[in-house]
């Protein structure tokens, strides 16, 4: 295995597919997308197949995820936002599962690919824009005009609002991508210290204890980050959807 910390992010073709001169190969990233969907859907499907009135432990995990997202969406976007529940739930479960799968050694982390997180962020913002204009027409543009701002300041405030709206897909995608990428690189670098130090003999093995402890600690931290980033993505999705449901309310 290469000691290059970015090697783990390399995309390799597994089944080369080319349509109209564009490369649509089934890659290791595609494989782990399929694995993510399989793991998440399989877990949710199998744990709820009993439909127990009194849930088993795993069934209550599925139910807790459901209720967690449902209450998050209801608090973030009100009861009018509940029609987006399947979307937010799918996003949260997909990102969480992808992040957690990435924690396995030698597994590919699809959320460490900027294009993947950017596509998910665009999906969210696209939904907000589409639903906002569909539901409120040009009234959706009230989103950019806050209440109670004096007329002189209005052009400035509106341009700030528009810039902040446009930066949302970037911040949403870069936050997730950068967290996963940085975490995995850090893990790889510290784990690399352990192997390269322990190759130096007895003193090196003694010195390798510190990066080993760091690696273990960072692994724990990374599990937290995996959950936290999925949570943050879902919370921000709820907030943005709130703008689509109630454009003039902020």
């Amino acid at each position: 295995m290469s000691n290059d910390p970015t090697h783990q992010f390399l995309v390799n073709k597994i089944v080369p597919i080319e349509i109209g001169g564009i490369d649509f190969s089934f890659t290791n990233a595609s494989l782990f997308m399929v694995a993510t969907v399989g793991a998440a859907a399989g877990f949710l499907y199998l744990t709820t197949s009993q439909r127990g009135l009194i849930p088993t432990r795993l069934q209550s995990v599925s139910e807790m995820s459901y209720e967690f997202i449902a209450s998050m969406l209801r608090e973030g976007a009100g009861s009018g936002g509940m029609k987006f529940f399947p979307m937010v739930f799918s996003l949260f479960m997909f990102i969480l599962t992808a992040n957690l799968l990435g924690m396995f050694p030698y597994f590919f982390t699809i959320t460490s690919q900027i294009i993947v997180t950017f596509a998910l962020a665009l999906f969210v913002i696209g939904t907000v824009l589409f639903y906002g204009f569909y539901k409120h027409g040009f009234g959706f543009l009230k989103l950019f005009v806050p209440h109670g701002v004096p007329g002189v300041l209005l052009p400035l405030v509106v341009s700030i609002e528009i810039i902040s709206f446009l930066s949302r897909p970037i911040s949403l995608s870069v936050r997730l991508f950068a967290n996963m990428l940085a975490g995995h690189i850090t893990l790889k670098v510290f784990a690399g210290f352990v192997t390269s130090l322990s190759a130096l003999g007895a003193l090196g093995i003694g010195g390798a204890i510190l990066p080993l402890i760091m690696t273990v600690a960072i692994t724990g931290l990374e599990f937290l980050v995996c959950f936290l980033q999925a949570y943050v993505f879902a919370v921000l999705t709820c907030m943005y959807l709130n703008d689509a449901v109630h454009p003039g309310s902020h």
Partner: protein, 205 residues
């Protein structure tokens, strides 16, 4: 390389060792070659490598779309159903419990009322009995007292009667006794008149 070479020398045939060595060298070569190719081919940090963007987008769309469909058509209705069933069941159980509690409360109230009635009745009976017993006791006592006082009066009458009779007899007895005493002492007879006088004189003392 060193380890591989050492391992290879332990191998039985030299040909095998050579093959191993060659394979190890080739492996190292290809690996560095891949790394070089990766960096030279795209010249960018792997996550920003745009050559695979189209394939990533396509497969993300396929997989996430499938996931979304599975979630919205199968999983979410199912979990929602489970939660709703449980919610309904809990609400039903709570209703049943509150109904039973109402029944129990009514039973307790009627029991309390009956108890109060019975207590009042018991008090009434006890009071009546006590009053009756008291009046009867008073009447009995009065009757006994009246009887006793009657008897006491009769006894007192008799005592007085006997007393007067006895007192009347005292003089005669004294006279007889005195006559007998005198006769015994002096042998003579004393007239009755003298004895009576003497008795009277001593009685007068």
């Amino acid at each position: 390389m060193f380890v591989t070479a050492a391992y290879a020398q332990q191998s039985t045939t030299t040909e095998g060792a050579e093959a191993h060595d060659a394979a190890a060298a080739g492996e190292v070569h290809t690996e560095t070659g891949v790394a070089h190719e990766g960096e030279a081919g795209s010249g960018v940090f792997p996550p920003f490598d745009s050559t695979h963007f189209a394939s990533q987008l396509l497969w993300l769309a396929i997989t996430f779309g499938l996931f979304y469909l599975l979630m919205s058509k199968v999983i979410i209705p199912r979990i929602g159903g489970i939660l709703e069933t449980r919610h309904d069941r809990i609400a039903q159980d709570l209703d049943e419990a509150s109904r039973l509690k109402g029944e129990a409360d009514a039973a307790i109230a009627s029991y309390e009322q009956e108890l109060a009635t019975a207590k009042a009745k018991g008090h009434q009976i006890a009071d009546g009995a006590r009053e009756a017993a008291k009046s009867k006791a008073v009447a009995d006592r009065n009757a006994v007292e009246a009887d006793l006082s009657k008897k006491i009066a009769a006894a007192e009458d008799r005592i007085a009667d006997i007393k007067t009779k006895a007192l009347a007899d005292v003089g005669a007895i004294a006279e007889e006794t005195a006559t007998a005493v005198v006769k015994q002492l002096i042998g003579g007879t004393v007239t009755k008149a003298e004895i009576v006088a003497a008795v009277k004189a001593s009685a007068g003392n």
